[in-house]
C-alpha cells in the first residue's frame, strides 16, 4: 500500500506525505480510542475498588471442649449460638455440621423427636448426617474440619469444609475417637 489515494479536491498525485497520512480522521480515531481506553480502565478500576482487600470478620475456628465428652447418637447444639456449628457423635465418629442451610443460608432448627434439621426460611429438611431430604436445599450440609489439638481439645475450623459424601466421611471432617488417638494427633 505505497500508493495512497490522492487527497480529495487536489490534483496532486504524489504519494501522501506523513502529514497527510496523519489526517484528521486518524487523530479522531486515535482520540476516541484513547478516550474509550481510559474510560474502560477507569471502569475496571472502579469495579476493583468495590471489592475490599481486607475484611474484619469473625474468626472461623474455635475450641469445642473434650471430644470424648460428646454422647453418641446426640446432636450437640450448644455451640450454635456463638459459632454456628452442631457437633454430632455417631459411635466412635465425631463430626461438626455448619449450621447454615445450603439453600440460602438460614440457620435450621434441630428437631430431636423427628431427628431432622428443618430450615425456617423455605422448609428444607436435613438428616443428622446433613443430607437434604425435603424442601429446596440442593446439597448436603457442610462439615467443618475437626481435629484433636495438642491439649486434647476438639479444634473446629469452618474455613475448611466439605459436603460431598466420601470426602466428608474421612479426616479431617470426621474425628475417630477411640482407635489410635496418637495417630489422629499427628494427622
Amino acid at each position: 500500500m505505497v500508493a495512497a489515494t490522492p487527497v480529495e479536491g487536489t490534483q496532486d498525485r504524489r504519494p501522501m506525505s506523513v502529514g497527510q497520512r496523519l489526517s484528521r480522521r486518524f487523530f479522531a480515531i486515535l482520540g476516541l480510542g484513547g478516550l474509550a481506553g481510559v474510560v474502560a480502565a477507569w471502569s475496571a478500576g472502579l469495579v476493583r475498588f468495590l471489592f475490599p482487600r481486607i475484611l474484619y470478620e469473625p474468626p472461623m475456628n474455635f475450641v469445642a471442649g473434650d471430644p470424648d465428652a460428646y454422647r453418641s447418637g446426640e446432636v450437640e447444639t450448644r455451640w450454635q449460638k456463638d459459632h454456628r456449628v452442631w457437633v454430632v457423635r455417631e459411635g466412635e465418629e465425631l463430626y461438626a455440621l455448619i449450621a447454615q442451610c445450603t439453600h440460602l443460608g438460614c440457620t435450621p432448627t434441630w428437631f430431636a423427636d423427628e431427628q431432622l434439621f428443618k430450615c425456617p426460611c423455605h422448609g428444607s429438611n436435613f438428616t443428622r448426617a446433613g443430607d437434604p431430604v425435603a424442601g429446596p436445599a440442593p446439597s448436603p450440609l457442610y462439615r467443618a474440619s475437626v481435629q484433636r489439638g495438642m491439649d486434647g481439645q476438639l479444634q473446629v475450623n469452618k474455613a475448611i469444609s466439605e459436603n460431598r459424601p466420601g470426602p466428608r466421611d474421612a479426616a479431617p471432617f470426621v474425628l475417630r475417637l477411640k482407635s489410635g488417638q496418637r495417630g489422629e494427633r499427628s494427622a
Partner: protein, 261 residues
C-alpha cells in the same frame, strides 16, 4: 367558551409573552377537535391533585399513629426466627424459592419477568389504542398479564397465610406453633424421563400457540412469535412445577451435573 392562549391577554412582561407564544406554537394546547371540551389545569386538575395529596398524607398519618413499625430482636447470625418471613412484597419470591433452585427462582426468573415486561409494548402488536383506531379485544395480553399477577398475588397469600413453623404448609385452622412432622421426602425424575419430558414440553410450547391460532403467528412474524412463545412456555411451567411439588413431592424434573430444574 374555551379560551386559547392567543385570545388570552397576557402579562405585560415581554419575555414572558414570548415564552408563551413559543409554547403555543410548539405545543398545540390540545387536540383541536376536542378543544371545546378542554379544561384548564389550574384550577381543575391542580385542586384535585391537592385534595388527593391531602387525603393520602392524612391516611399515612393515621396509619403511622395507629400502627407501629415492627422491630424484632437484634440481628443474630446464629439463630433464624422460625418461620422467617420476608416483607409481603417479597413473599412471592420467597415462596417461589421453595419450588425452584435459587439461580432460577432468585435470578433468572425475576430477570425474565422484568425483561418480558420491558419488551411488552414491542411484542404486543394490537395497537388499536392510537388516535382514530378501534382497539381489538386483547385476547392474549390481558389473560397472560392477569394470570401472572394472579400467580404472584397467590404466592404472596400462600407465603403469608399458609406457611408456618419450618415453612411447612399450615391450613388457616391449624396452629403454627405446633411442629409438623415431615411426612414424605422429595424425589426427582431420573434423567431418562426428565430430559424427554423437558424437551417435549419446550417443543409443545413453541408449536401449540401457532396450532391454536395460525393468525397469531402470521401477525407477529417468526422472531416475535418465538419470543412470545418462550415466555408463555416458561410462565406455564411455573404453576406446573409448583403443583408437582405440592401434590407429588417432586424435587427436580430434570437433574444434570450442572443445574437442576
Amino acid at each position: 367558551m374555551a379560551e386559547t392562549l392567543e385570545t388570552m391577554p397576557v402579562h405585560e412582561d415581554v419575555g414572558q409573552a414570548v415564552t408563551v407564544r413559543r409554547q403555543v406554537a410548539t405545543h398545540p394546547v390540545a387536540d383541536p377537535a376536542a378543544g371545546a371540551d378542554d379544561v384548564h389545569v389550574w384550577p381543575h386538575l391542580v385542586y384535585r391533585e391537592f385534595l388527593c395529596a391531602l387525603a393520602v398524607v392524612g391516611l399515612l398519618l393515621l396509619l403511622a399513629l395507629l400502627f407501629n413499625a415492627p422491630l424484632e430482636d437484634r440481628a443474630n447470625p446464629s439463630a433464624t426466627p422460625n418461620p422467617a418471613k420476608a416483607a409481603w412484597y417479597f413473599l412471592g419470591l420467597q415462596e417461589l424459592l421453595v419450588y425452584f433452585d435459587p439461580w432460577f427462582a432468585g435470578v433468572v426468573l425475576p430477570s425474565l419477568i422484568l425483561i418480558g415486561l420491558m419488551m411488552l409494548p414491542y411484542l404486543d402488536l394490537n395497537r388499536g389504542d392510537g388516535p382514530g383506531q378501534v382497539e381489538e379485544p386483547r385476547r392474549l395480553a390481558v389473560p397472560f398479564f392477569s394470570a401472572g399477577l394472579a400467580l404472584w398475588f397467590g404466592l404472596i397469600l400462600i407465603g403469608q397465610y399458609f406457611r408456618g413453623l419450618s415453612w411447612a404448609w399450615y391450613w388457616p385452622w391449624e396452629n403454627w406453633n405446633i411442629p409438623k412432622v415431615t411426612e414424605s421426602f422429595t424425589w426427582s425424575f431420573p434423567v431418562w424421563l426428565g430430559l424427554p419430558v423437558v424437551l417435549l414440553y419446550g417443543a409443545a410450547g413453541a408449536w401449540l400457540p401457532a396450532r391454536i391460532s395460525p393468525r397469531f403467528l402470521r401477525r407477529l412474524g417468526w422472531t416475535r412469535y418465538l419470543i412470545v412463545s418462550v415466555f408463555l412456555t416458561i410462565a406455564a411451567a411455573i404453576p406446573i412445577k409448583i403443583l408437582l411439588r405440592l401434590l407429588l413431592n417432586v424435587k427436580y424434573v430434570l437433574k444434570t451435573p450442572w443445574f437442576n430444574l
